[in-house]
């Protein structure tokens, strides 16, 4: 998903690779129960989450808390690093049985499961959850469109209608999902918060103000949009491998200014901030509060898109020039050091990641080769060509745009920067009529699967509006490869072939990746940062691991 921490289509998520900073040894899964129980904490987010409704939530602001409230049929192991990417049964008794043709998934809802309000969980609640995603036109609908009958359901426009491909037996708890074509990532889909179970009585409306009960270690008891929401521990929650949580009550306040959040964490008025502290304060925090501050890489990829359908980037030599000239060490400074430079599109921690070593266009940790880049531009006859660079106005993005604009000018193009509000940025560059030649993009995984990244350069996804293949990459070999590999039920088994596709994309300079952003955990003094801070690769800080000293 495209990401800016505050915009609608945004999701900032977390790393997998075991580059865990200062916490490598805690990932044994059951450490949560060792923490001190009880107490209340107050934490902060920078903006109102897009929705406190599992059917609609699609940003890190909402996924981080909702993960603990709405357990889907499947979920991920509560662990750091690669272990956290392992799928485990959530509301389902076991991982689904997949038919030989890869089109039918069957699983059983656990017996005796109850929502936080005491309502028993029924198998048909799953179908209701999917219906809500589809009929509310959620950003996550695309994940469920492969279900047989989903398109017909949407077209009928009748929320209470039936989705032919989902059969649920409330008596036995059995659920069968039929797909129109095999989808190797469907287990991951069953583990998204979109699939989080809610009672069948939940209305077909955004429930942010009165979040429905769910199955999870916490429930949302108060929700005042744009101000705060409160999560309280659910007594009697019991699903194996999902910790029950340590603190009794978590109040999340909406505090817009990151610098005020950081100040409040330092002073102890807040116990945790979801945003990264401002660049300005980072140096001081790193020195003075190193015992309760850590940085961790994310399952994300930052890159410049290069529009192959328009000059000058329709010429491979010009695209290559960009890759040759890029200096990730300059970019890392603009991230206040929170960037893991790389020339890969698929980040570490995702199956299919194979570090390109050496990078085809020079060491990502070293300076670029401007002379050679200039030469390439000249050879292509593109010297002096006009280029408009697009950037959004979120933290440090304008500076990155300025760096990139200057770089393009250095290699002989005539570049100009256009900064657009983060809320409308991806729509603007995703619209064909904008004719965006190049600009900033960052992609955060919806789930730890290579398809999530390779879709960015899949020619079959190109559409006139809301396009996310910003570079209009349309390489038959890649298109075919992505279509084929996406059907494989086990991405790890075909990791080599994913890596091969990625290598082709990089060698053809279809994109100009420069690394993964690192996010932060900054806790107050009264929090037990040493034993109670688990960072999940996909969902970020796991609040159920938090405990007081």
């Amino acid at each position: 998903m495209t990401a800016t921490r505050s915009s609608l289509t945004a999701l900032a998520l977390v790393l997998a690779a075991a580059i865990g900073v200062g916490c490598g040894s805690d990932s044994d899964g059951d450490q949560a129960s060792s923490g001190k129980q009880g107490g209340s904490i107050t934490i902060a987010q920078g903006s109102q989450p897009d929705a406190l409704d599992p059917a609609l939530a699609y940003t890190s602001n909402s996924w981080e808390p909702l993960w603990l409230v709405y357990t889907p049929p499947l979920t991920y192991r509560r662990a750091e690093g690669v272990e956290g990417a392992e799928l485990i049964p959530g509301a389902a008794e076991a991982l689904p049985e997949v038919s030989a043709d890869g089109k039918t998934y069957s699983f059983k809802i656990r017996k005796g499961l109850r929502y936080s309000d005491g309502t028993p969980v029924k198998a048909s609640d799953f179908e209701h959850a999917v219906k809500r995603v589809l009929s509310l036109e959620s950003g996550g609908s695309y994940l469920f469109e492969g279900i047989d009958g989903a398109t017909e359901y949407v077209e009928a426009g009748e929320p209470n209608g039936d989705i032919a491909g989902i059969e649920a037996d409330d008596r036995t708890g059995e659920v069968t999902v039929r797909l129109t074509a095999p989808d190797g990532s469907f287990n991951n889909v069953l583990a998204t918060t979109f699939a989080g179970l809610v009672p069948s009585s939940t209305p077909f409306e955004n429930q942010t103000k009165t979040p429905p009960p769910g199955v999870g270690p916490y429930e949302i008891t108060v929700s005042t949009p744009n101000r705060q929401f409160v999560m309280e521990k659910v007594e009697g929650f019991d699903i194996p491998d999902i910790p029950t949580g340590n603190v009794d009550k978590i109040t999340t306040k909406i505090v817009k200014s990151a610098s005020r959040q950081a100040q409040d964490v330092i002073d102890g008025r807040l116990d945790y901030m979801q945003d990264a502290p401002p660049t300005d304060l980072t140096a001081e925090i790193k020195v003075r509060y190193s015992d309760r501050y850590k940085e961790w890489p994310t399952l994300s990829s930052n890159y410049f898109f290069l529009n192959q359908s328009l000059p000058p980037f329709d010429d491979q030599r010009v695209r290559e020039a960009v890759n040759v000239a890029l200096d990730s060490t300059a970019l890392a400074r603009l991230f206040a050091g929170r960037l893991a430079p790389s020339c890969n599109l698929i980040p570490p921690g995702i199956p299919g990641h194979a570090e390109l070593d050496p990078c085809p266009f020079g060491d990502p940790n070293g300076p670029g080769d401007l002379a050679r880049a200039k030469q390439l531009v000249e050879q292509a006859g593109a010297a002096g060509e006009q280029v408009t660079v697009y950037a959004n106005n979120d933290t440090n993005r304008p500076q990155i745009g300025e760096y990139y604009t200057a770089l393009l000018n250095d290699i002989g193009l005539d570049a100009e920067l256009r900064v657009i509000d983060g809320a409308v940025y991806f729509n603007t560059i995703g619209k064909e009529s904008t004719k965006a030649q190049t600009g900033l993009a960052s992609w955060y995984a919806d789930f730890p699967h290579p398809a999530s990244f390779m879709q960015q350069i899949d020619g079959t996804t190109i559409q006139p509006t809301n396009n996310t293949n910003f570079g209009y990459v349309d390489d038959p070999q890649i298109n075919r490869g992505v279509a084929e590999l996406s059907q494989e039920p086990n991405a790890t088994a075909v990791a080599d072939r994913w890596a091969e596709l990625e290598r082709r994309a990089i060698e053809k300079s279809y994109v100009a990746p420069y690394g993964s952003e690192e996010l932060t955990t900054f806790l107050s003094e009264r929090m037990d940062a040493e034993n109670c801070s688990l960072v999940h690769p996909l969902y970020g800080n796991d609040y159920s691991s938090f405990c007081l000293k």
């Binding site: 790193k286 200096d327 300025e402």
Partner: protein, 323 residues
């Protein structure tokens, strides 16, 4: 006509030493802006958009990062290169300050000129013709007046920044400075058009206008040769204050991200990115802010003197209170 009151006013202004000093200060600021390329090439040896994130310079015999690995830029060096330090992209703040002066002053002067032009036209036409023409003009001014100034500026700026504007042959490209100029000019028209209209209303009843009519002068002729010369002192009194207001509004718009588009510098957008790093690099916000204050102060003090000299009763007042 009107020669002697003018001379009188100029003599009064010449005696106002404070006003003259600040008038001169403004001239110096304009000259400094004009000399920006000179400083960039001869002293700092850096173009305003020359980034240098990974560069090093020598400080006290040691090689120091222009931007540290944590992204903290170097502070003022008080000598040729990086006289006022660097910004996050390793660019020379002094050079950007001077180039920013060009943009800020250009927009301020052009917008004030456009405001004066529009306001005079509206005021003349409304006051001269009266009746429904006046009614239409006045309601238009009322509507602009009723808009919260900044909100109107930001709204126009944002909408235009996405797609630009095309009205017939007139085309404003998205991101162009002309957008800021037009937005600022329109916002301030009522401030100036209302007093001018009032004055025209009063002048219209005077004998020399009647006389012109009697001699068969048409409306255009009368407005241009009889009314306009009598409005000059009003316009002159407003001019410096309007420039001050326009410079301030430009800075405010750029501060909110809808004025001059980076990497082109303006004082407003420099302050905007500077306040983000008040802790580690306060020079980024303080330097452009001081320039802004100095410019506006110079214009206000000078404008105050001009008003005292030309028309002490004028409704022209310093300070964009509604900003």
């Amino acid at each position: 006509m009107g020669q002697s009151p003018w001379r009188l006013a100029l003599r009064r202004l010449r005696r106002d030493r404070v006003a003259l000093v600040f008038g001169a200060l403004f001239v110096v600021l304009v000259l400094a802006a004009l000399a920006a390329p000179l400083w960039a090439s001869a002293v700092a040896d850096r173009a305003p958009d020359r980034t240098n994130e990974t560069g090093k310079i020598e400080v006290d015999g040691r090689q120091v990062d222009v931007v540290s690995l944590d992204g903290v830029p170097i502070g003022p060096q008080w000598r040729g290169e990086y006289f006022l330090g660097a910004d996050a992209n390793g660019r020379d703040v002094m050079v950007r300050l001077l180039y920013g002066a060009r943009n800020s002053l250009l927009i301020g002067l052009a917008a004030a000129l456009l405001t004066a032009l529009l306001a005079t036209m509206v005021g003349l036409v409304a006051g001269y013709f009266g009746g429904w023409v006046d009614a239409v003009a006045r309601s238009t001014l009322d509507v602009i007046w009723a808009f919260p100034v900044i909100l109107l500026g930001v709204a126009l700026g944002t909408a235009l920044a996405v797609g630009g504007l095309r009205i017939g042959p007139l085309e404003l490209e998205a991101g162009s400075m002309a957008i800021s100029i037009v937005v600022i000019a329109v916002v301030y028209v009522p401030y100036m058009a209302r007093p001018i209209r009032g004055e025209v209303l009063a002048l219209r009843e005077r004998e020399f206008v009647e006389a012109a009519h009697a001699q068969g002068a048409g409306p255009l002729r009368t407005m241009a040769s009889e009314l306009l010369p009598n409005l000059t002192s009003t316009i002159v009194v407003f001019a410096p204050l309007m420039v001050a207001n326009a410079v301030l509004l430009e800075a405010a718009l750029s501060f909110l991200g809808v004025g001059v588009v980076p990497p082109d510098p303006s004082w407003g957008n420099m302050i905007d990115s500077g306040v983000e790093s008040m802790i580690t690099a306060p020079h980024l916000a303080i330097a452009p802010g001081l320039m802004l204050v100095l410019t506006v102060l110079a214009l206000n003090v000078f404008g105050d003197g001009v008003r005292d000299a030309f028309d002490p009763r004028s409704s022209a007042a310093w300070g964009t209170r509604r900003l």
